[in-house]
Amino acid sequence: MEKKIYLDNAATTRTRPEVLEAMLPYFSDKYGNPSSVYEFASQNRKALDEARLTIANSIGAESAEIYFTGSGTEADNWALIATAEAYSSKGNHIITSKIEHHAVLHTCEYLKKRGYEITYIDVDENGIVKLDQLEKAIRPTTILISIMFANNEIGTIQPIREIGEIAKRHKILFHTDAVQAYCQVDINVDELGIDMLSASAHKLHGPKAIGFLYIKKGIKIRSFIHGGAQERGRRAGTENVPYAVGFGKAVEIAMATMKERTRKETELRDYLIKRVLAEVPYTRLNGHRTRRLPNNANFSFQFIEGESLLIMLDMNNICASSGSACTSGSLDPSHVLLAIGLPHEIAHGSLRLTLSEENTYEEIDYTVEKIKEIVDKLRKMSPLYEDFLANTIR
């Protein structure tokens, strides 16, 4: 296939043409600063307000509760660090999970070095956070629970409502990193008991380098960037109007198409999973079979290593990702795959394929055929497979 097949939509997505079109005037003609008083700049204020309202409506929040940030990672950093500081008189204990994104895990490590105590909750073999362990971990000094809405590698969706109830019962703030789940599953922050939520535009066909943090009204966490009065004084700096407009447009489309889009993605995902599991021997699906993001499939192929697989898929114009050590820049494979209990050698042979509504059955058929060829080729090269066959025959 000459055409590129893009199956890495959890990494980033193609910016929609409508989104780009909506953004462009704000780079050229409409360059005014939203803080200025004259009429010329007020259209920018209006555009910013509209984008904020669209986003607020998408999660059942109010405009005043949405704060634009430079990324989902920034939103995670803000939620954790500012909460830790604001509530330090109440306590110094934070609960999170072993499968969080590094934006949360590395921020927790940073806080740990500064005297905070962190508890990392285990997940079961499907990647679902152990709720009994979470509730038992709560201490009088616990100030925050931060659990991701859905995992970026294996797609497992967490029992957010139950976690929200636990947090509420113990009067502890609940933050969720919803970067992967936002606009992929229904989110109503009040119904789910969410106090803070991080999201990002480029996972839903919006521009890169813009995200938001939802902060429930009444939560007193400090300003993240000091300066002017932008973002209610909590995140100073002239607003990135074109990106905010693009974010708003992407959310508007994603919300309008959510039901039909995720239904289509789920069908395609299930077709992909069914074919791979049926046609490639010694393969497992990572993550929960049904409680997973509509667009996520994550496999482990025994006896082979993920980076080799990715390069060979790339030679066939297929873009994918892996949790192998070689792609993480360390000797250890993905912390998520280890947390669900995979042995190292199985974790090394993982492949993540994440779809968008733009993918077709034809692309999936081609990809499955290529996976079969490549896995077979790599297994013929693998001393682990040779040993396995020798032991089986005996």
């Binding site: 290593e305 050698e345 090269m381």
Partner: protein, 145 residues
């Protein structure tokens, strides 16, 4: 990320496979760290490596270093094969990304492990050859690069 040479050896590995009843075979690395290399040697009575095959579980660089290592030692005497260092492997590939240099060490160790097995089977001592570590990641030496 990889040089053309690395990509070529990865896509078209030379001497991949097994040798039945080899003069020597050695396996190094471990699955925990994500790379295992196995090297098979056929050595004639004059101590010349007549045939060499490899199998590797690992990343693109691991496959490419195994492949080029087989080319570097094929037709050489045991003594000359011993002189093939990880640096020679890296140079022959026109370089490796820094995080992948350890793969070239694995190739050097795989040659040594296969030669050690050959020496043990023959009941000879190969001058300058040390007993290979069972797991090179246990005390990974600093690459000579």
């Amino acid at each position: 990320m990889y040089t053309k040479k690395v990509m070529d050896h990865f896509a078209n590995p030379r001497n991949m496979g097994e040798i039945e009843n080899p003069s020597g075979v050695g396996t190094v690395g471990n699955a925990k760290c994500g790379d295992i290399m196995r090297m098979y040697l056929n050595i004639d009575d004059n101590g010349v490596i007549q045939d060499v095959k490899f199998k590797t579980f690992g990343c693109g660089a691991a496959v490419a270093t195994s492949s080029i290592a087989t080319e570097l030692i094929k037709g050489k005497t045991v003594q000359d094969a011993l002189k093939v260092t990880n640096k020679a492997v890296v140079d022959a590939l026109d370089g490796l990304p820094p995080v992948k240099v350890h793969c070239s060490l694995l190739a050097e160790e795989a040659i040594h492990a296969a030669l050690w097995d050959y020496a043990e089977k023959k009941g000879i001592v190969i001058e300058g050859l040390e007993k290979p570590k069972s797991d090179i990641h246990e005390e990974e030496k600093e690459p000579t690069y």
